[in-house]
């Protein structure tokens, strides 16, 4: 019997990378990092550090046998800085020593002198100085410039959303073991095992098959280990290959927070035009993304911002411009939603402001402009299987929203120091990697002679339940008990060229590949069964139901175990691998048109808040959701994904505030100063799943990881409405997060 991950977790028996038994002779590695934001390295003095007892080696860029380049999308990121440092926390050297404590002590003894250069920390300043990762991109539909003339109301404004720290509870960690023939095995807490493999091979100048990367599970990822686990694994690998001993690297919380990238902060300027009925006729927006010092995944994230500039609304005339700005912060990176949330925030800010101009509730504009079947996204894709209107309607009906709105109005009329408000947040999120080539996956399935099943695929388990979903796929396809199915670690020796587990499509892609591999074996088994049953039995007449073999829908005496055993004896293949590539996705970047997504996920949330207008504190009291989840492979998992994403989104919009000082030093570098939601601040969440199918999904299911994070945006605008209920003169600004400080200052804007 193979226990599920969840059972192991409940007993503290699940082994994470840091929990693995440490081999004899294990050494530890620790980086020496830049303590300035931008400058040229003049001198690195290792003498004192090398003399520290227990230090084995200190590695610099010159010790890298291959290429000092760990950039994935762009070759602009070095493993170890050699001439120039471009952010505080950038690794310069790797100390290898007998204990983690010694590495840290010795790292403090490495003297690096710099000549400092000017540094930039915000996107607008970088843009003004022409500091871009790549030229701007523009998505457009219709003719915006013409459309303004037909508008009855036009509002312009700015919006900004802040960075967000992932706070995966397991910090970045990797262990590298040298093997014979210059090979390495690397256990890495990464969402991208193949990328870790590829980069290590590049850094060490060896073939990819000499590097085996293995991932059992992650203690949370949220995008923070898609790209940014690579460097640490590469450092461990470099050290292990140089000193020929196993080497472990593991960041502590503060260093992880200081040295790794976050959700991109965005600035934006918008202009929106509507007719007097509230129909949006034109929307122009320019996004300034704060990329940090190197490209990382910023351009892919920027592209997704453009894809989601219109959220779940149809706007006939759109011009969305986006530019990724190079600053001297640690490279910002993937975070659940991947640029989508930042886009949605700006459009909601524009609608909120337009509603004030038209003197209507924002909900009336939202409703009037929801997507409908057959309309077009600004990137040319047709709206198919649209659920925007259904989710909106069902939300209102199931959760009695009109009544709740009246209750809130009555409450506010009779309370001077407490105000409540409810905001709606529809979402529409495209599913697929927007880099089309990543929409592929492989699976390797073994059926052992005892009837137990092993599945290897490219999906990394990080709490999202992908292993359990894939287990369900295999168990359902064979019609056997789930306990027979084990999902193996994610390993580059079993699965080649994996895409990262990201973009919400880990279960979609790897589940499809698993399904295909299982079907291959199933076909073999049917043939064997037909032979066993003799007579006229044909494989097509054979089925398996609950571990029993059926012929023409009638049970036979053959069990799963018997069939598998006979198949083995009759020399039939009981292993299969399969490859899946998402059909019909493409995107032409020269035209910025195409069909980049297999399908879209829809949903709508009502977020209710209560503001203490004396103290400026608030509670998000409830979030009611109708979510379009298709036919779920694991309803409890999907519900958990929605609930968790909502709270993460609310955290981003409310209390999670990243602050740097004027020199690019992170001030909020601990869980004491950077607050994520706790059990008290998490609202009551009611999730209703829309009864829907999904022809483009795995067994009609839908991806679920990222989209519900964007329901949290409703929290910001609910707070804004509650503030206006107390201080109608407040000029609503759209600068997230809405901390208690911002709320109090807004409530008493005229007072100070």
């Amino acid at each position: 019997m193979y226990a599920s991950d969840i059972d192991l977790h409940a007993q503290g028996a699940a082994i994470f990378t840091d929990d693995m038994a440490e081999p004899a002779g294990l050494l530890h590695a620790w980086p020496v990092v830049s303590n300035i934001a931008h400058g040229l390295i003049e001198r690195i003095d290792l003498q004192e550090a090398l003399g520290y007892p227990g230090v084995v080696s200190i590695l610099l860029a010159r010790d890298i046998p291959g290429s000092n380049n760990i950039g994935n999308a762009a070759p602009d990121e070095v493993l170890l800085a050699e001439k120039e440092v471009v952010y505080r926390g950038q690794p310069i050297a790797v100390v290898v020593a007998e204990s983690a404590a010694i590495t840290r002590q010795a790292a403090g003894l490495v003297r690096v002198s710099y000549s400092e250069l000017p540094a930039v920390f915000d996107a607008r300043t970088a843009h003004a100085q022409g500091l871009h990762i790549a030229p701007p991109r523009i998505f457009s539909l219709g003719d915006v410039d013409q459309a303004w003339q037909a508008c009855d109301a036009i509002v312009e404004g700015a919006a900004a959303s802040g960075a967000q720290e992932h706070v995966y509870l397991e910090t970045q960690v990797a262990v590298a073991y040298p093997l014979e023939s210059d090979c390495l095995k690397v256990v890495s807490a990464t969402q991208s095992p193949s990328m870790v493999q590829r980069v290590i091979a590049r850094v060490l100048d060896c073939a990819m098959h000499q590097v085996e990367v293995d991932v059992v599970r992650l203690g949370g990822g949220f995008g923070g280990k898609e790209e940014q686990a690579t460097g640490w694994a590469a450092m461990a690998a470099l050290a292990a290959s140089r000193v020929n001993k196993p080497v472990k690297i593991r960041l502590n919380r503060g260093d992880d927070m200081r040295w790794t990238g976050k959700r991109h902060p965005y600035d934006a300027d918008f202009k929106i035009g509507l007719d007097k009925t509230g129909k949006i006729l034109a929307y122009e927006v320019c996004f300034y993304q704060n990329a940090g010092a190197v490209a990382d995944l910023s351009l892919a994230i920027l592209e997704r911002t453009l894809f989601h500039a219109g959220n779940s609304y149809f706007i006939p005339n759109v011009r969305a411009t986006a530019v990724s700005c190079r600053t001297n912060l640690p490279p910002n990176t993937a975070f659940r939603g991947f640029g989508g949330p930042q886009a949605l925030f700006v459009l909601e800010a524009a609608i909120f402001k337009a509603a004030a101009a038209l003197n209507v509730d924002p909900a009336s504009i939202q409703q009037k402009n929801l997507l409908q079947e057959g309309q077009q996204f600004p990137y040319g894709m047709q709206v198919e299987n649209c659920r925007a209107q259904r989710c909106w309607r069902q939300l209102h009906e199931s959760f009695g929203l009109p009544q709740r709105q009246r209750t809130i109005e009555n409450f506010n009329a009779s309370h001077s120091l407490e105000k409540k408000a409810l905001a709606l947040m529809p979402i529409c999120f495209g599913i697929s990697f927007t880099a089309t080539f990543l929409n592929q996956a492989d699976a390797l399935v073994h059926v052992y002679a005892d009837g137990s099943v092993s599945v290897s695929c490219g999906a990394v388990e990080m709490g999202q339940g992908v292993k359990e979903k894939i287990r369900n796929v295999a168990a359902r396809t064979f019609s056997i008990d789930k306990v027979r199915v084990k999902i193996e670690s994610t390993n580059t020796a079993r699965i080649a060229n994996m895409s990262p587990t990201a973009a919400s499509c880990g279960a979609d892609l790897n589940g499809q590949a698993t399904l295909l591999a299982c079907r291959q074996i199933l076909q073999q088994l049917r043939t064997v069964a037909a032979g066993l049953l003799g007579g006229d039995a044909e494989p097509e007449q054979i089925s398996i139901q609950q571990e029993q073999i059926y012929l023409n829908g009638q049970p036979t005496a053959i069990s799963w175990n018997k069939l598998v055993s006979e198949a083995y004896l009759s020399r039939s293949a009981l292993s299969a691998n399969a490859h899946y590539a998402t059909p019909e996705v493409f995107f032409d970047r020269s035209e910025e048109q195409g069909r980049p997504f297999a399908y879209h996920v829809y949903g709508c949330a009502a977020v209710e808040v209560s503001v203490d207008c004396l103290r400026g504190t608030y509670r998000v009291t409830s979030v009611s959701i109708v979510h379009d989840g298709g036919r779920s492979l694991a309803p409890a998992i999907d519900r958990g994904q929605v609930e968790g994403a909502v709270v993460q989104g609310l955290g981003w919009m409310t209390m999670e505030e990243i602050l740097y000082d004027g020199q690019g030093q992170l001030l909020t570098d601990s869980l004491t100063t950077y607050k994520i939601p706790d059990i008290y601040s998490a609202p009551e969440i009611a999730v209703e799943f829309l009864d829907s199918d999904n022809p483009a999904g795995l067994m009609h299911s839908k991806a679920v990881g990222e989209p519900p994070l964007m329901y949290g945006i409703g929290g910001y605008f609910a707070l804004a409405k509650a503030i206006q209920a107390f201080n109608p003169g407040w000029q609503a600004e759209a600068i997230a997060p809405m901390t208690p400080e911002k709320v109090l200052l807004a409530l008493y804007e005229c007072d100070c």
């Binding site: 059972d7 519900r639 609930e643 601040s681």
Partner: protein, 467 residues
């Protein structure tokens, strides 16, 4: 050397007394169910149970192993998740599994320990109390919805009201929440030879250690440490005075019947300031000596015009708390001195209000906190003491404002004048907890809040809210 029971095994550790139990457990004992996440008591992933034999019998608390020095567990029982596991999932583990309370699993063992601590200590199966027990456990995956469902189920499943504290361990063993070996722990601990360690005079005093081990864990490993004994009584009434032993924990204050009588909202107020595992360890004396400018208890006791009794080898002296804080993290305490007691006149507590606002409502460092006590008669203030944190380099006694209030009628005009005077006494700075302007505005609002709460029949919002 430290001798203690680790799960079912008696162990003797020669490691430094200042090494935190998280490292002892994970690195030296290989028990990896206890997770290393923040090392500052903010996340709860490393929670373990610490059992000690007290006058009332064997008592357990969930504590953060990252802030728990080895020297503090001598003669006790340390329970990790491995020490709770049986053949099958226990009812707490099963409830978490069944209710979708687990995703990545990194916070789960700590959560199981916190809930077990709740079952060991709560008088009743109250959902709010259970939520408070896990409030120090951060989860980044689930949004806490599944955890709340599991709590609800467990509170329905087991009725703690029917289980006396004397029989609690037996009952939990019967319910299979604890494994059977817990029945023998008391005897095993009793059989240990008494712990003896002579303390030298120039050692570092360690009380709860909940801030010390955040600030300088590595340094403490190399120091001789003197672990101050826990306070069992803690709080007493002596004539017109309340006397609090410096070693009393925040949880002892929070649950003290005397305190609850004087300060009816103290149970809720102190839920805000730190999590149950920290409350179980953090002491009143430690919080004051720490001299943090936003010290929650410093502000609380400043507003009670409290006095400190300080002892040294040469004798005792008393100093007013408002004279104790000399500057940023500087106090009146001399080398070799130790705070013994905190005293205040109970008459001062006639009307008392405590307010705290932080970025996150619970378990966060205050942007501004404030407390006020008022003795009054016939609509007039006889004496008032107002204090605030986060507005100066020290926890601030607002002397001018307090003096102004004396003898004044309780009116909106008095409050507005007091607010103006207070603004002249403070010097907040901008930092990660808020801008200086925000802190000024916030203190005004908290002073309003004190009066609105204490005098709801006299002070109204409208006259205060003059734009």
């Amino acid at each position: 050397m430290s001798r203690f029971l680790l799960n079912q095994r008696l162990v003797e550790e020669q490691l430094p007394a200042g090494m935190v139990m998280l490292d002892v457990i994970r690195r030296h004992r290989g028990l990896t169910g206890t997770k290393d996440v923040c090392r500052e008591g903010d996340c709860g992933a490393c929670q373990v149970l610490l059992g000690k034999r007290l006058a009332g019998g064997l008592r357990y608390q969930a504590v953060n192993a990252c802030l728990l020095p080895l020297g503090a567990v001598a003669d006790g029982h340390v329970v990790t998740i491995e020490g709770l596991n049986g053949e099958r999932l226990n009812p707490i583990q099963q409830a978490l599994v069944d209710n979708g309370a687990i995703q990545c699993g990194y916070c789960t063992p700590g959560l199981v320990m916190a809930l077990t601590g709740f079952f060991l200590n709560s008088l009743i199966s109250d959902e709010h109390a259970a939520v408070d027990a896990v409030a120090g456990n951060l989860c980044r995956c689930t949004g806490y919805a599944g955890i709340k469902r599991a709590i609800k189920q467990l509170c329905q499943q087991f009725d703690l009201a029917g289980s006396s504290m004397e029989r609690r361990i037996e009952d939990l063993v019967h319910w299979q929440i604890l494994p059977a070996y817990f029945l023998t722990v008391n005897e095993m601990l009793a059989a240990l030879p008494p712990h003896q360690e002579k303390a030298s005079p120039d050692v570092v005093f360690v009380a709860g250690g909940t801030d010390l081990f955040v600030q300088k864990p590595a340094w403490l490993q190399a120091q001789p440490l003197n672990f101050l004994p826990a306070s069992e009584g803690g709080i007493r009434h002596e004539g017109s005075e309340c006397v609090i032993e410096a070693a009393a924990t925040i949880e002892q204050l929070r649950t003290s019947p005397l305190f609850q009588q004087w300060f009816p909202s103290v149970a809720q107020d102190f839920e805000l300031i730190c999590s149950a595992p920290v409350r179980a360890r953090a002491t009143v004396g430690g919080n004051l000596v720490n001299a943090s400018p936003i010290g929650d208890l410093a502000v609380f006791f400043l507003a009670l015009d409290a006095r400190l009794v300080i002892a040294s080898a040469t004798g005792r002296r008393t100093v007013a708390l408002k004279d104790f804080f000399h500057g940023y993290k500087k106090t009146d305490l001399q080398a070799g001195e130790q705070v013994l007691e905190i005293r205040f006149d109970t008459a001062v507590a006639q009307s008392f209000s405590y307010e705290k606002v932080s970025k996150r409502t619970h378990l966060d460092i205050a942007s501004v906190n404030s407390a006020m006590s008022i003795e009054h008669a016939g609509g007039r203030i006889i004496k008032a003491h107002l204090a605030a944190g986060g507005v100066a380099p020290v926890p601030l006694y607002l002397a001018n404002t307090s003096a102004y209030l004396q003898g004044k009628a309780i009116t909106a005009a008095t409050v507005l004048e007091a607010v103006d005077i207070a603004q002249g006494e403070i010097a907040p700075i901008s930092d990660s907890r808020g801008s200086a302007g925000y802190k000024r505005l916030l203190l005004r609002q908290l002073i309003f809040a004190h009066f609105l709460k204490l005098f709801p029949d006299t002070i109204y919002w409208k006259p205060l809210h003059v734009r």
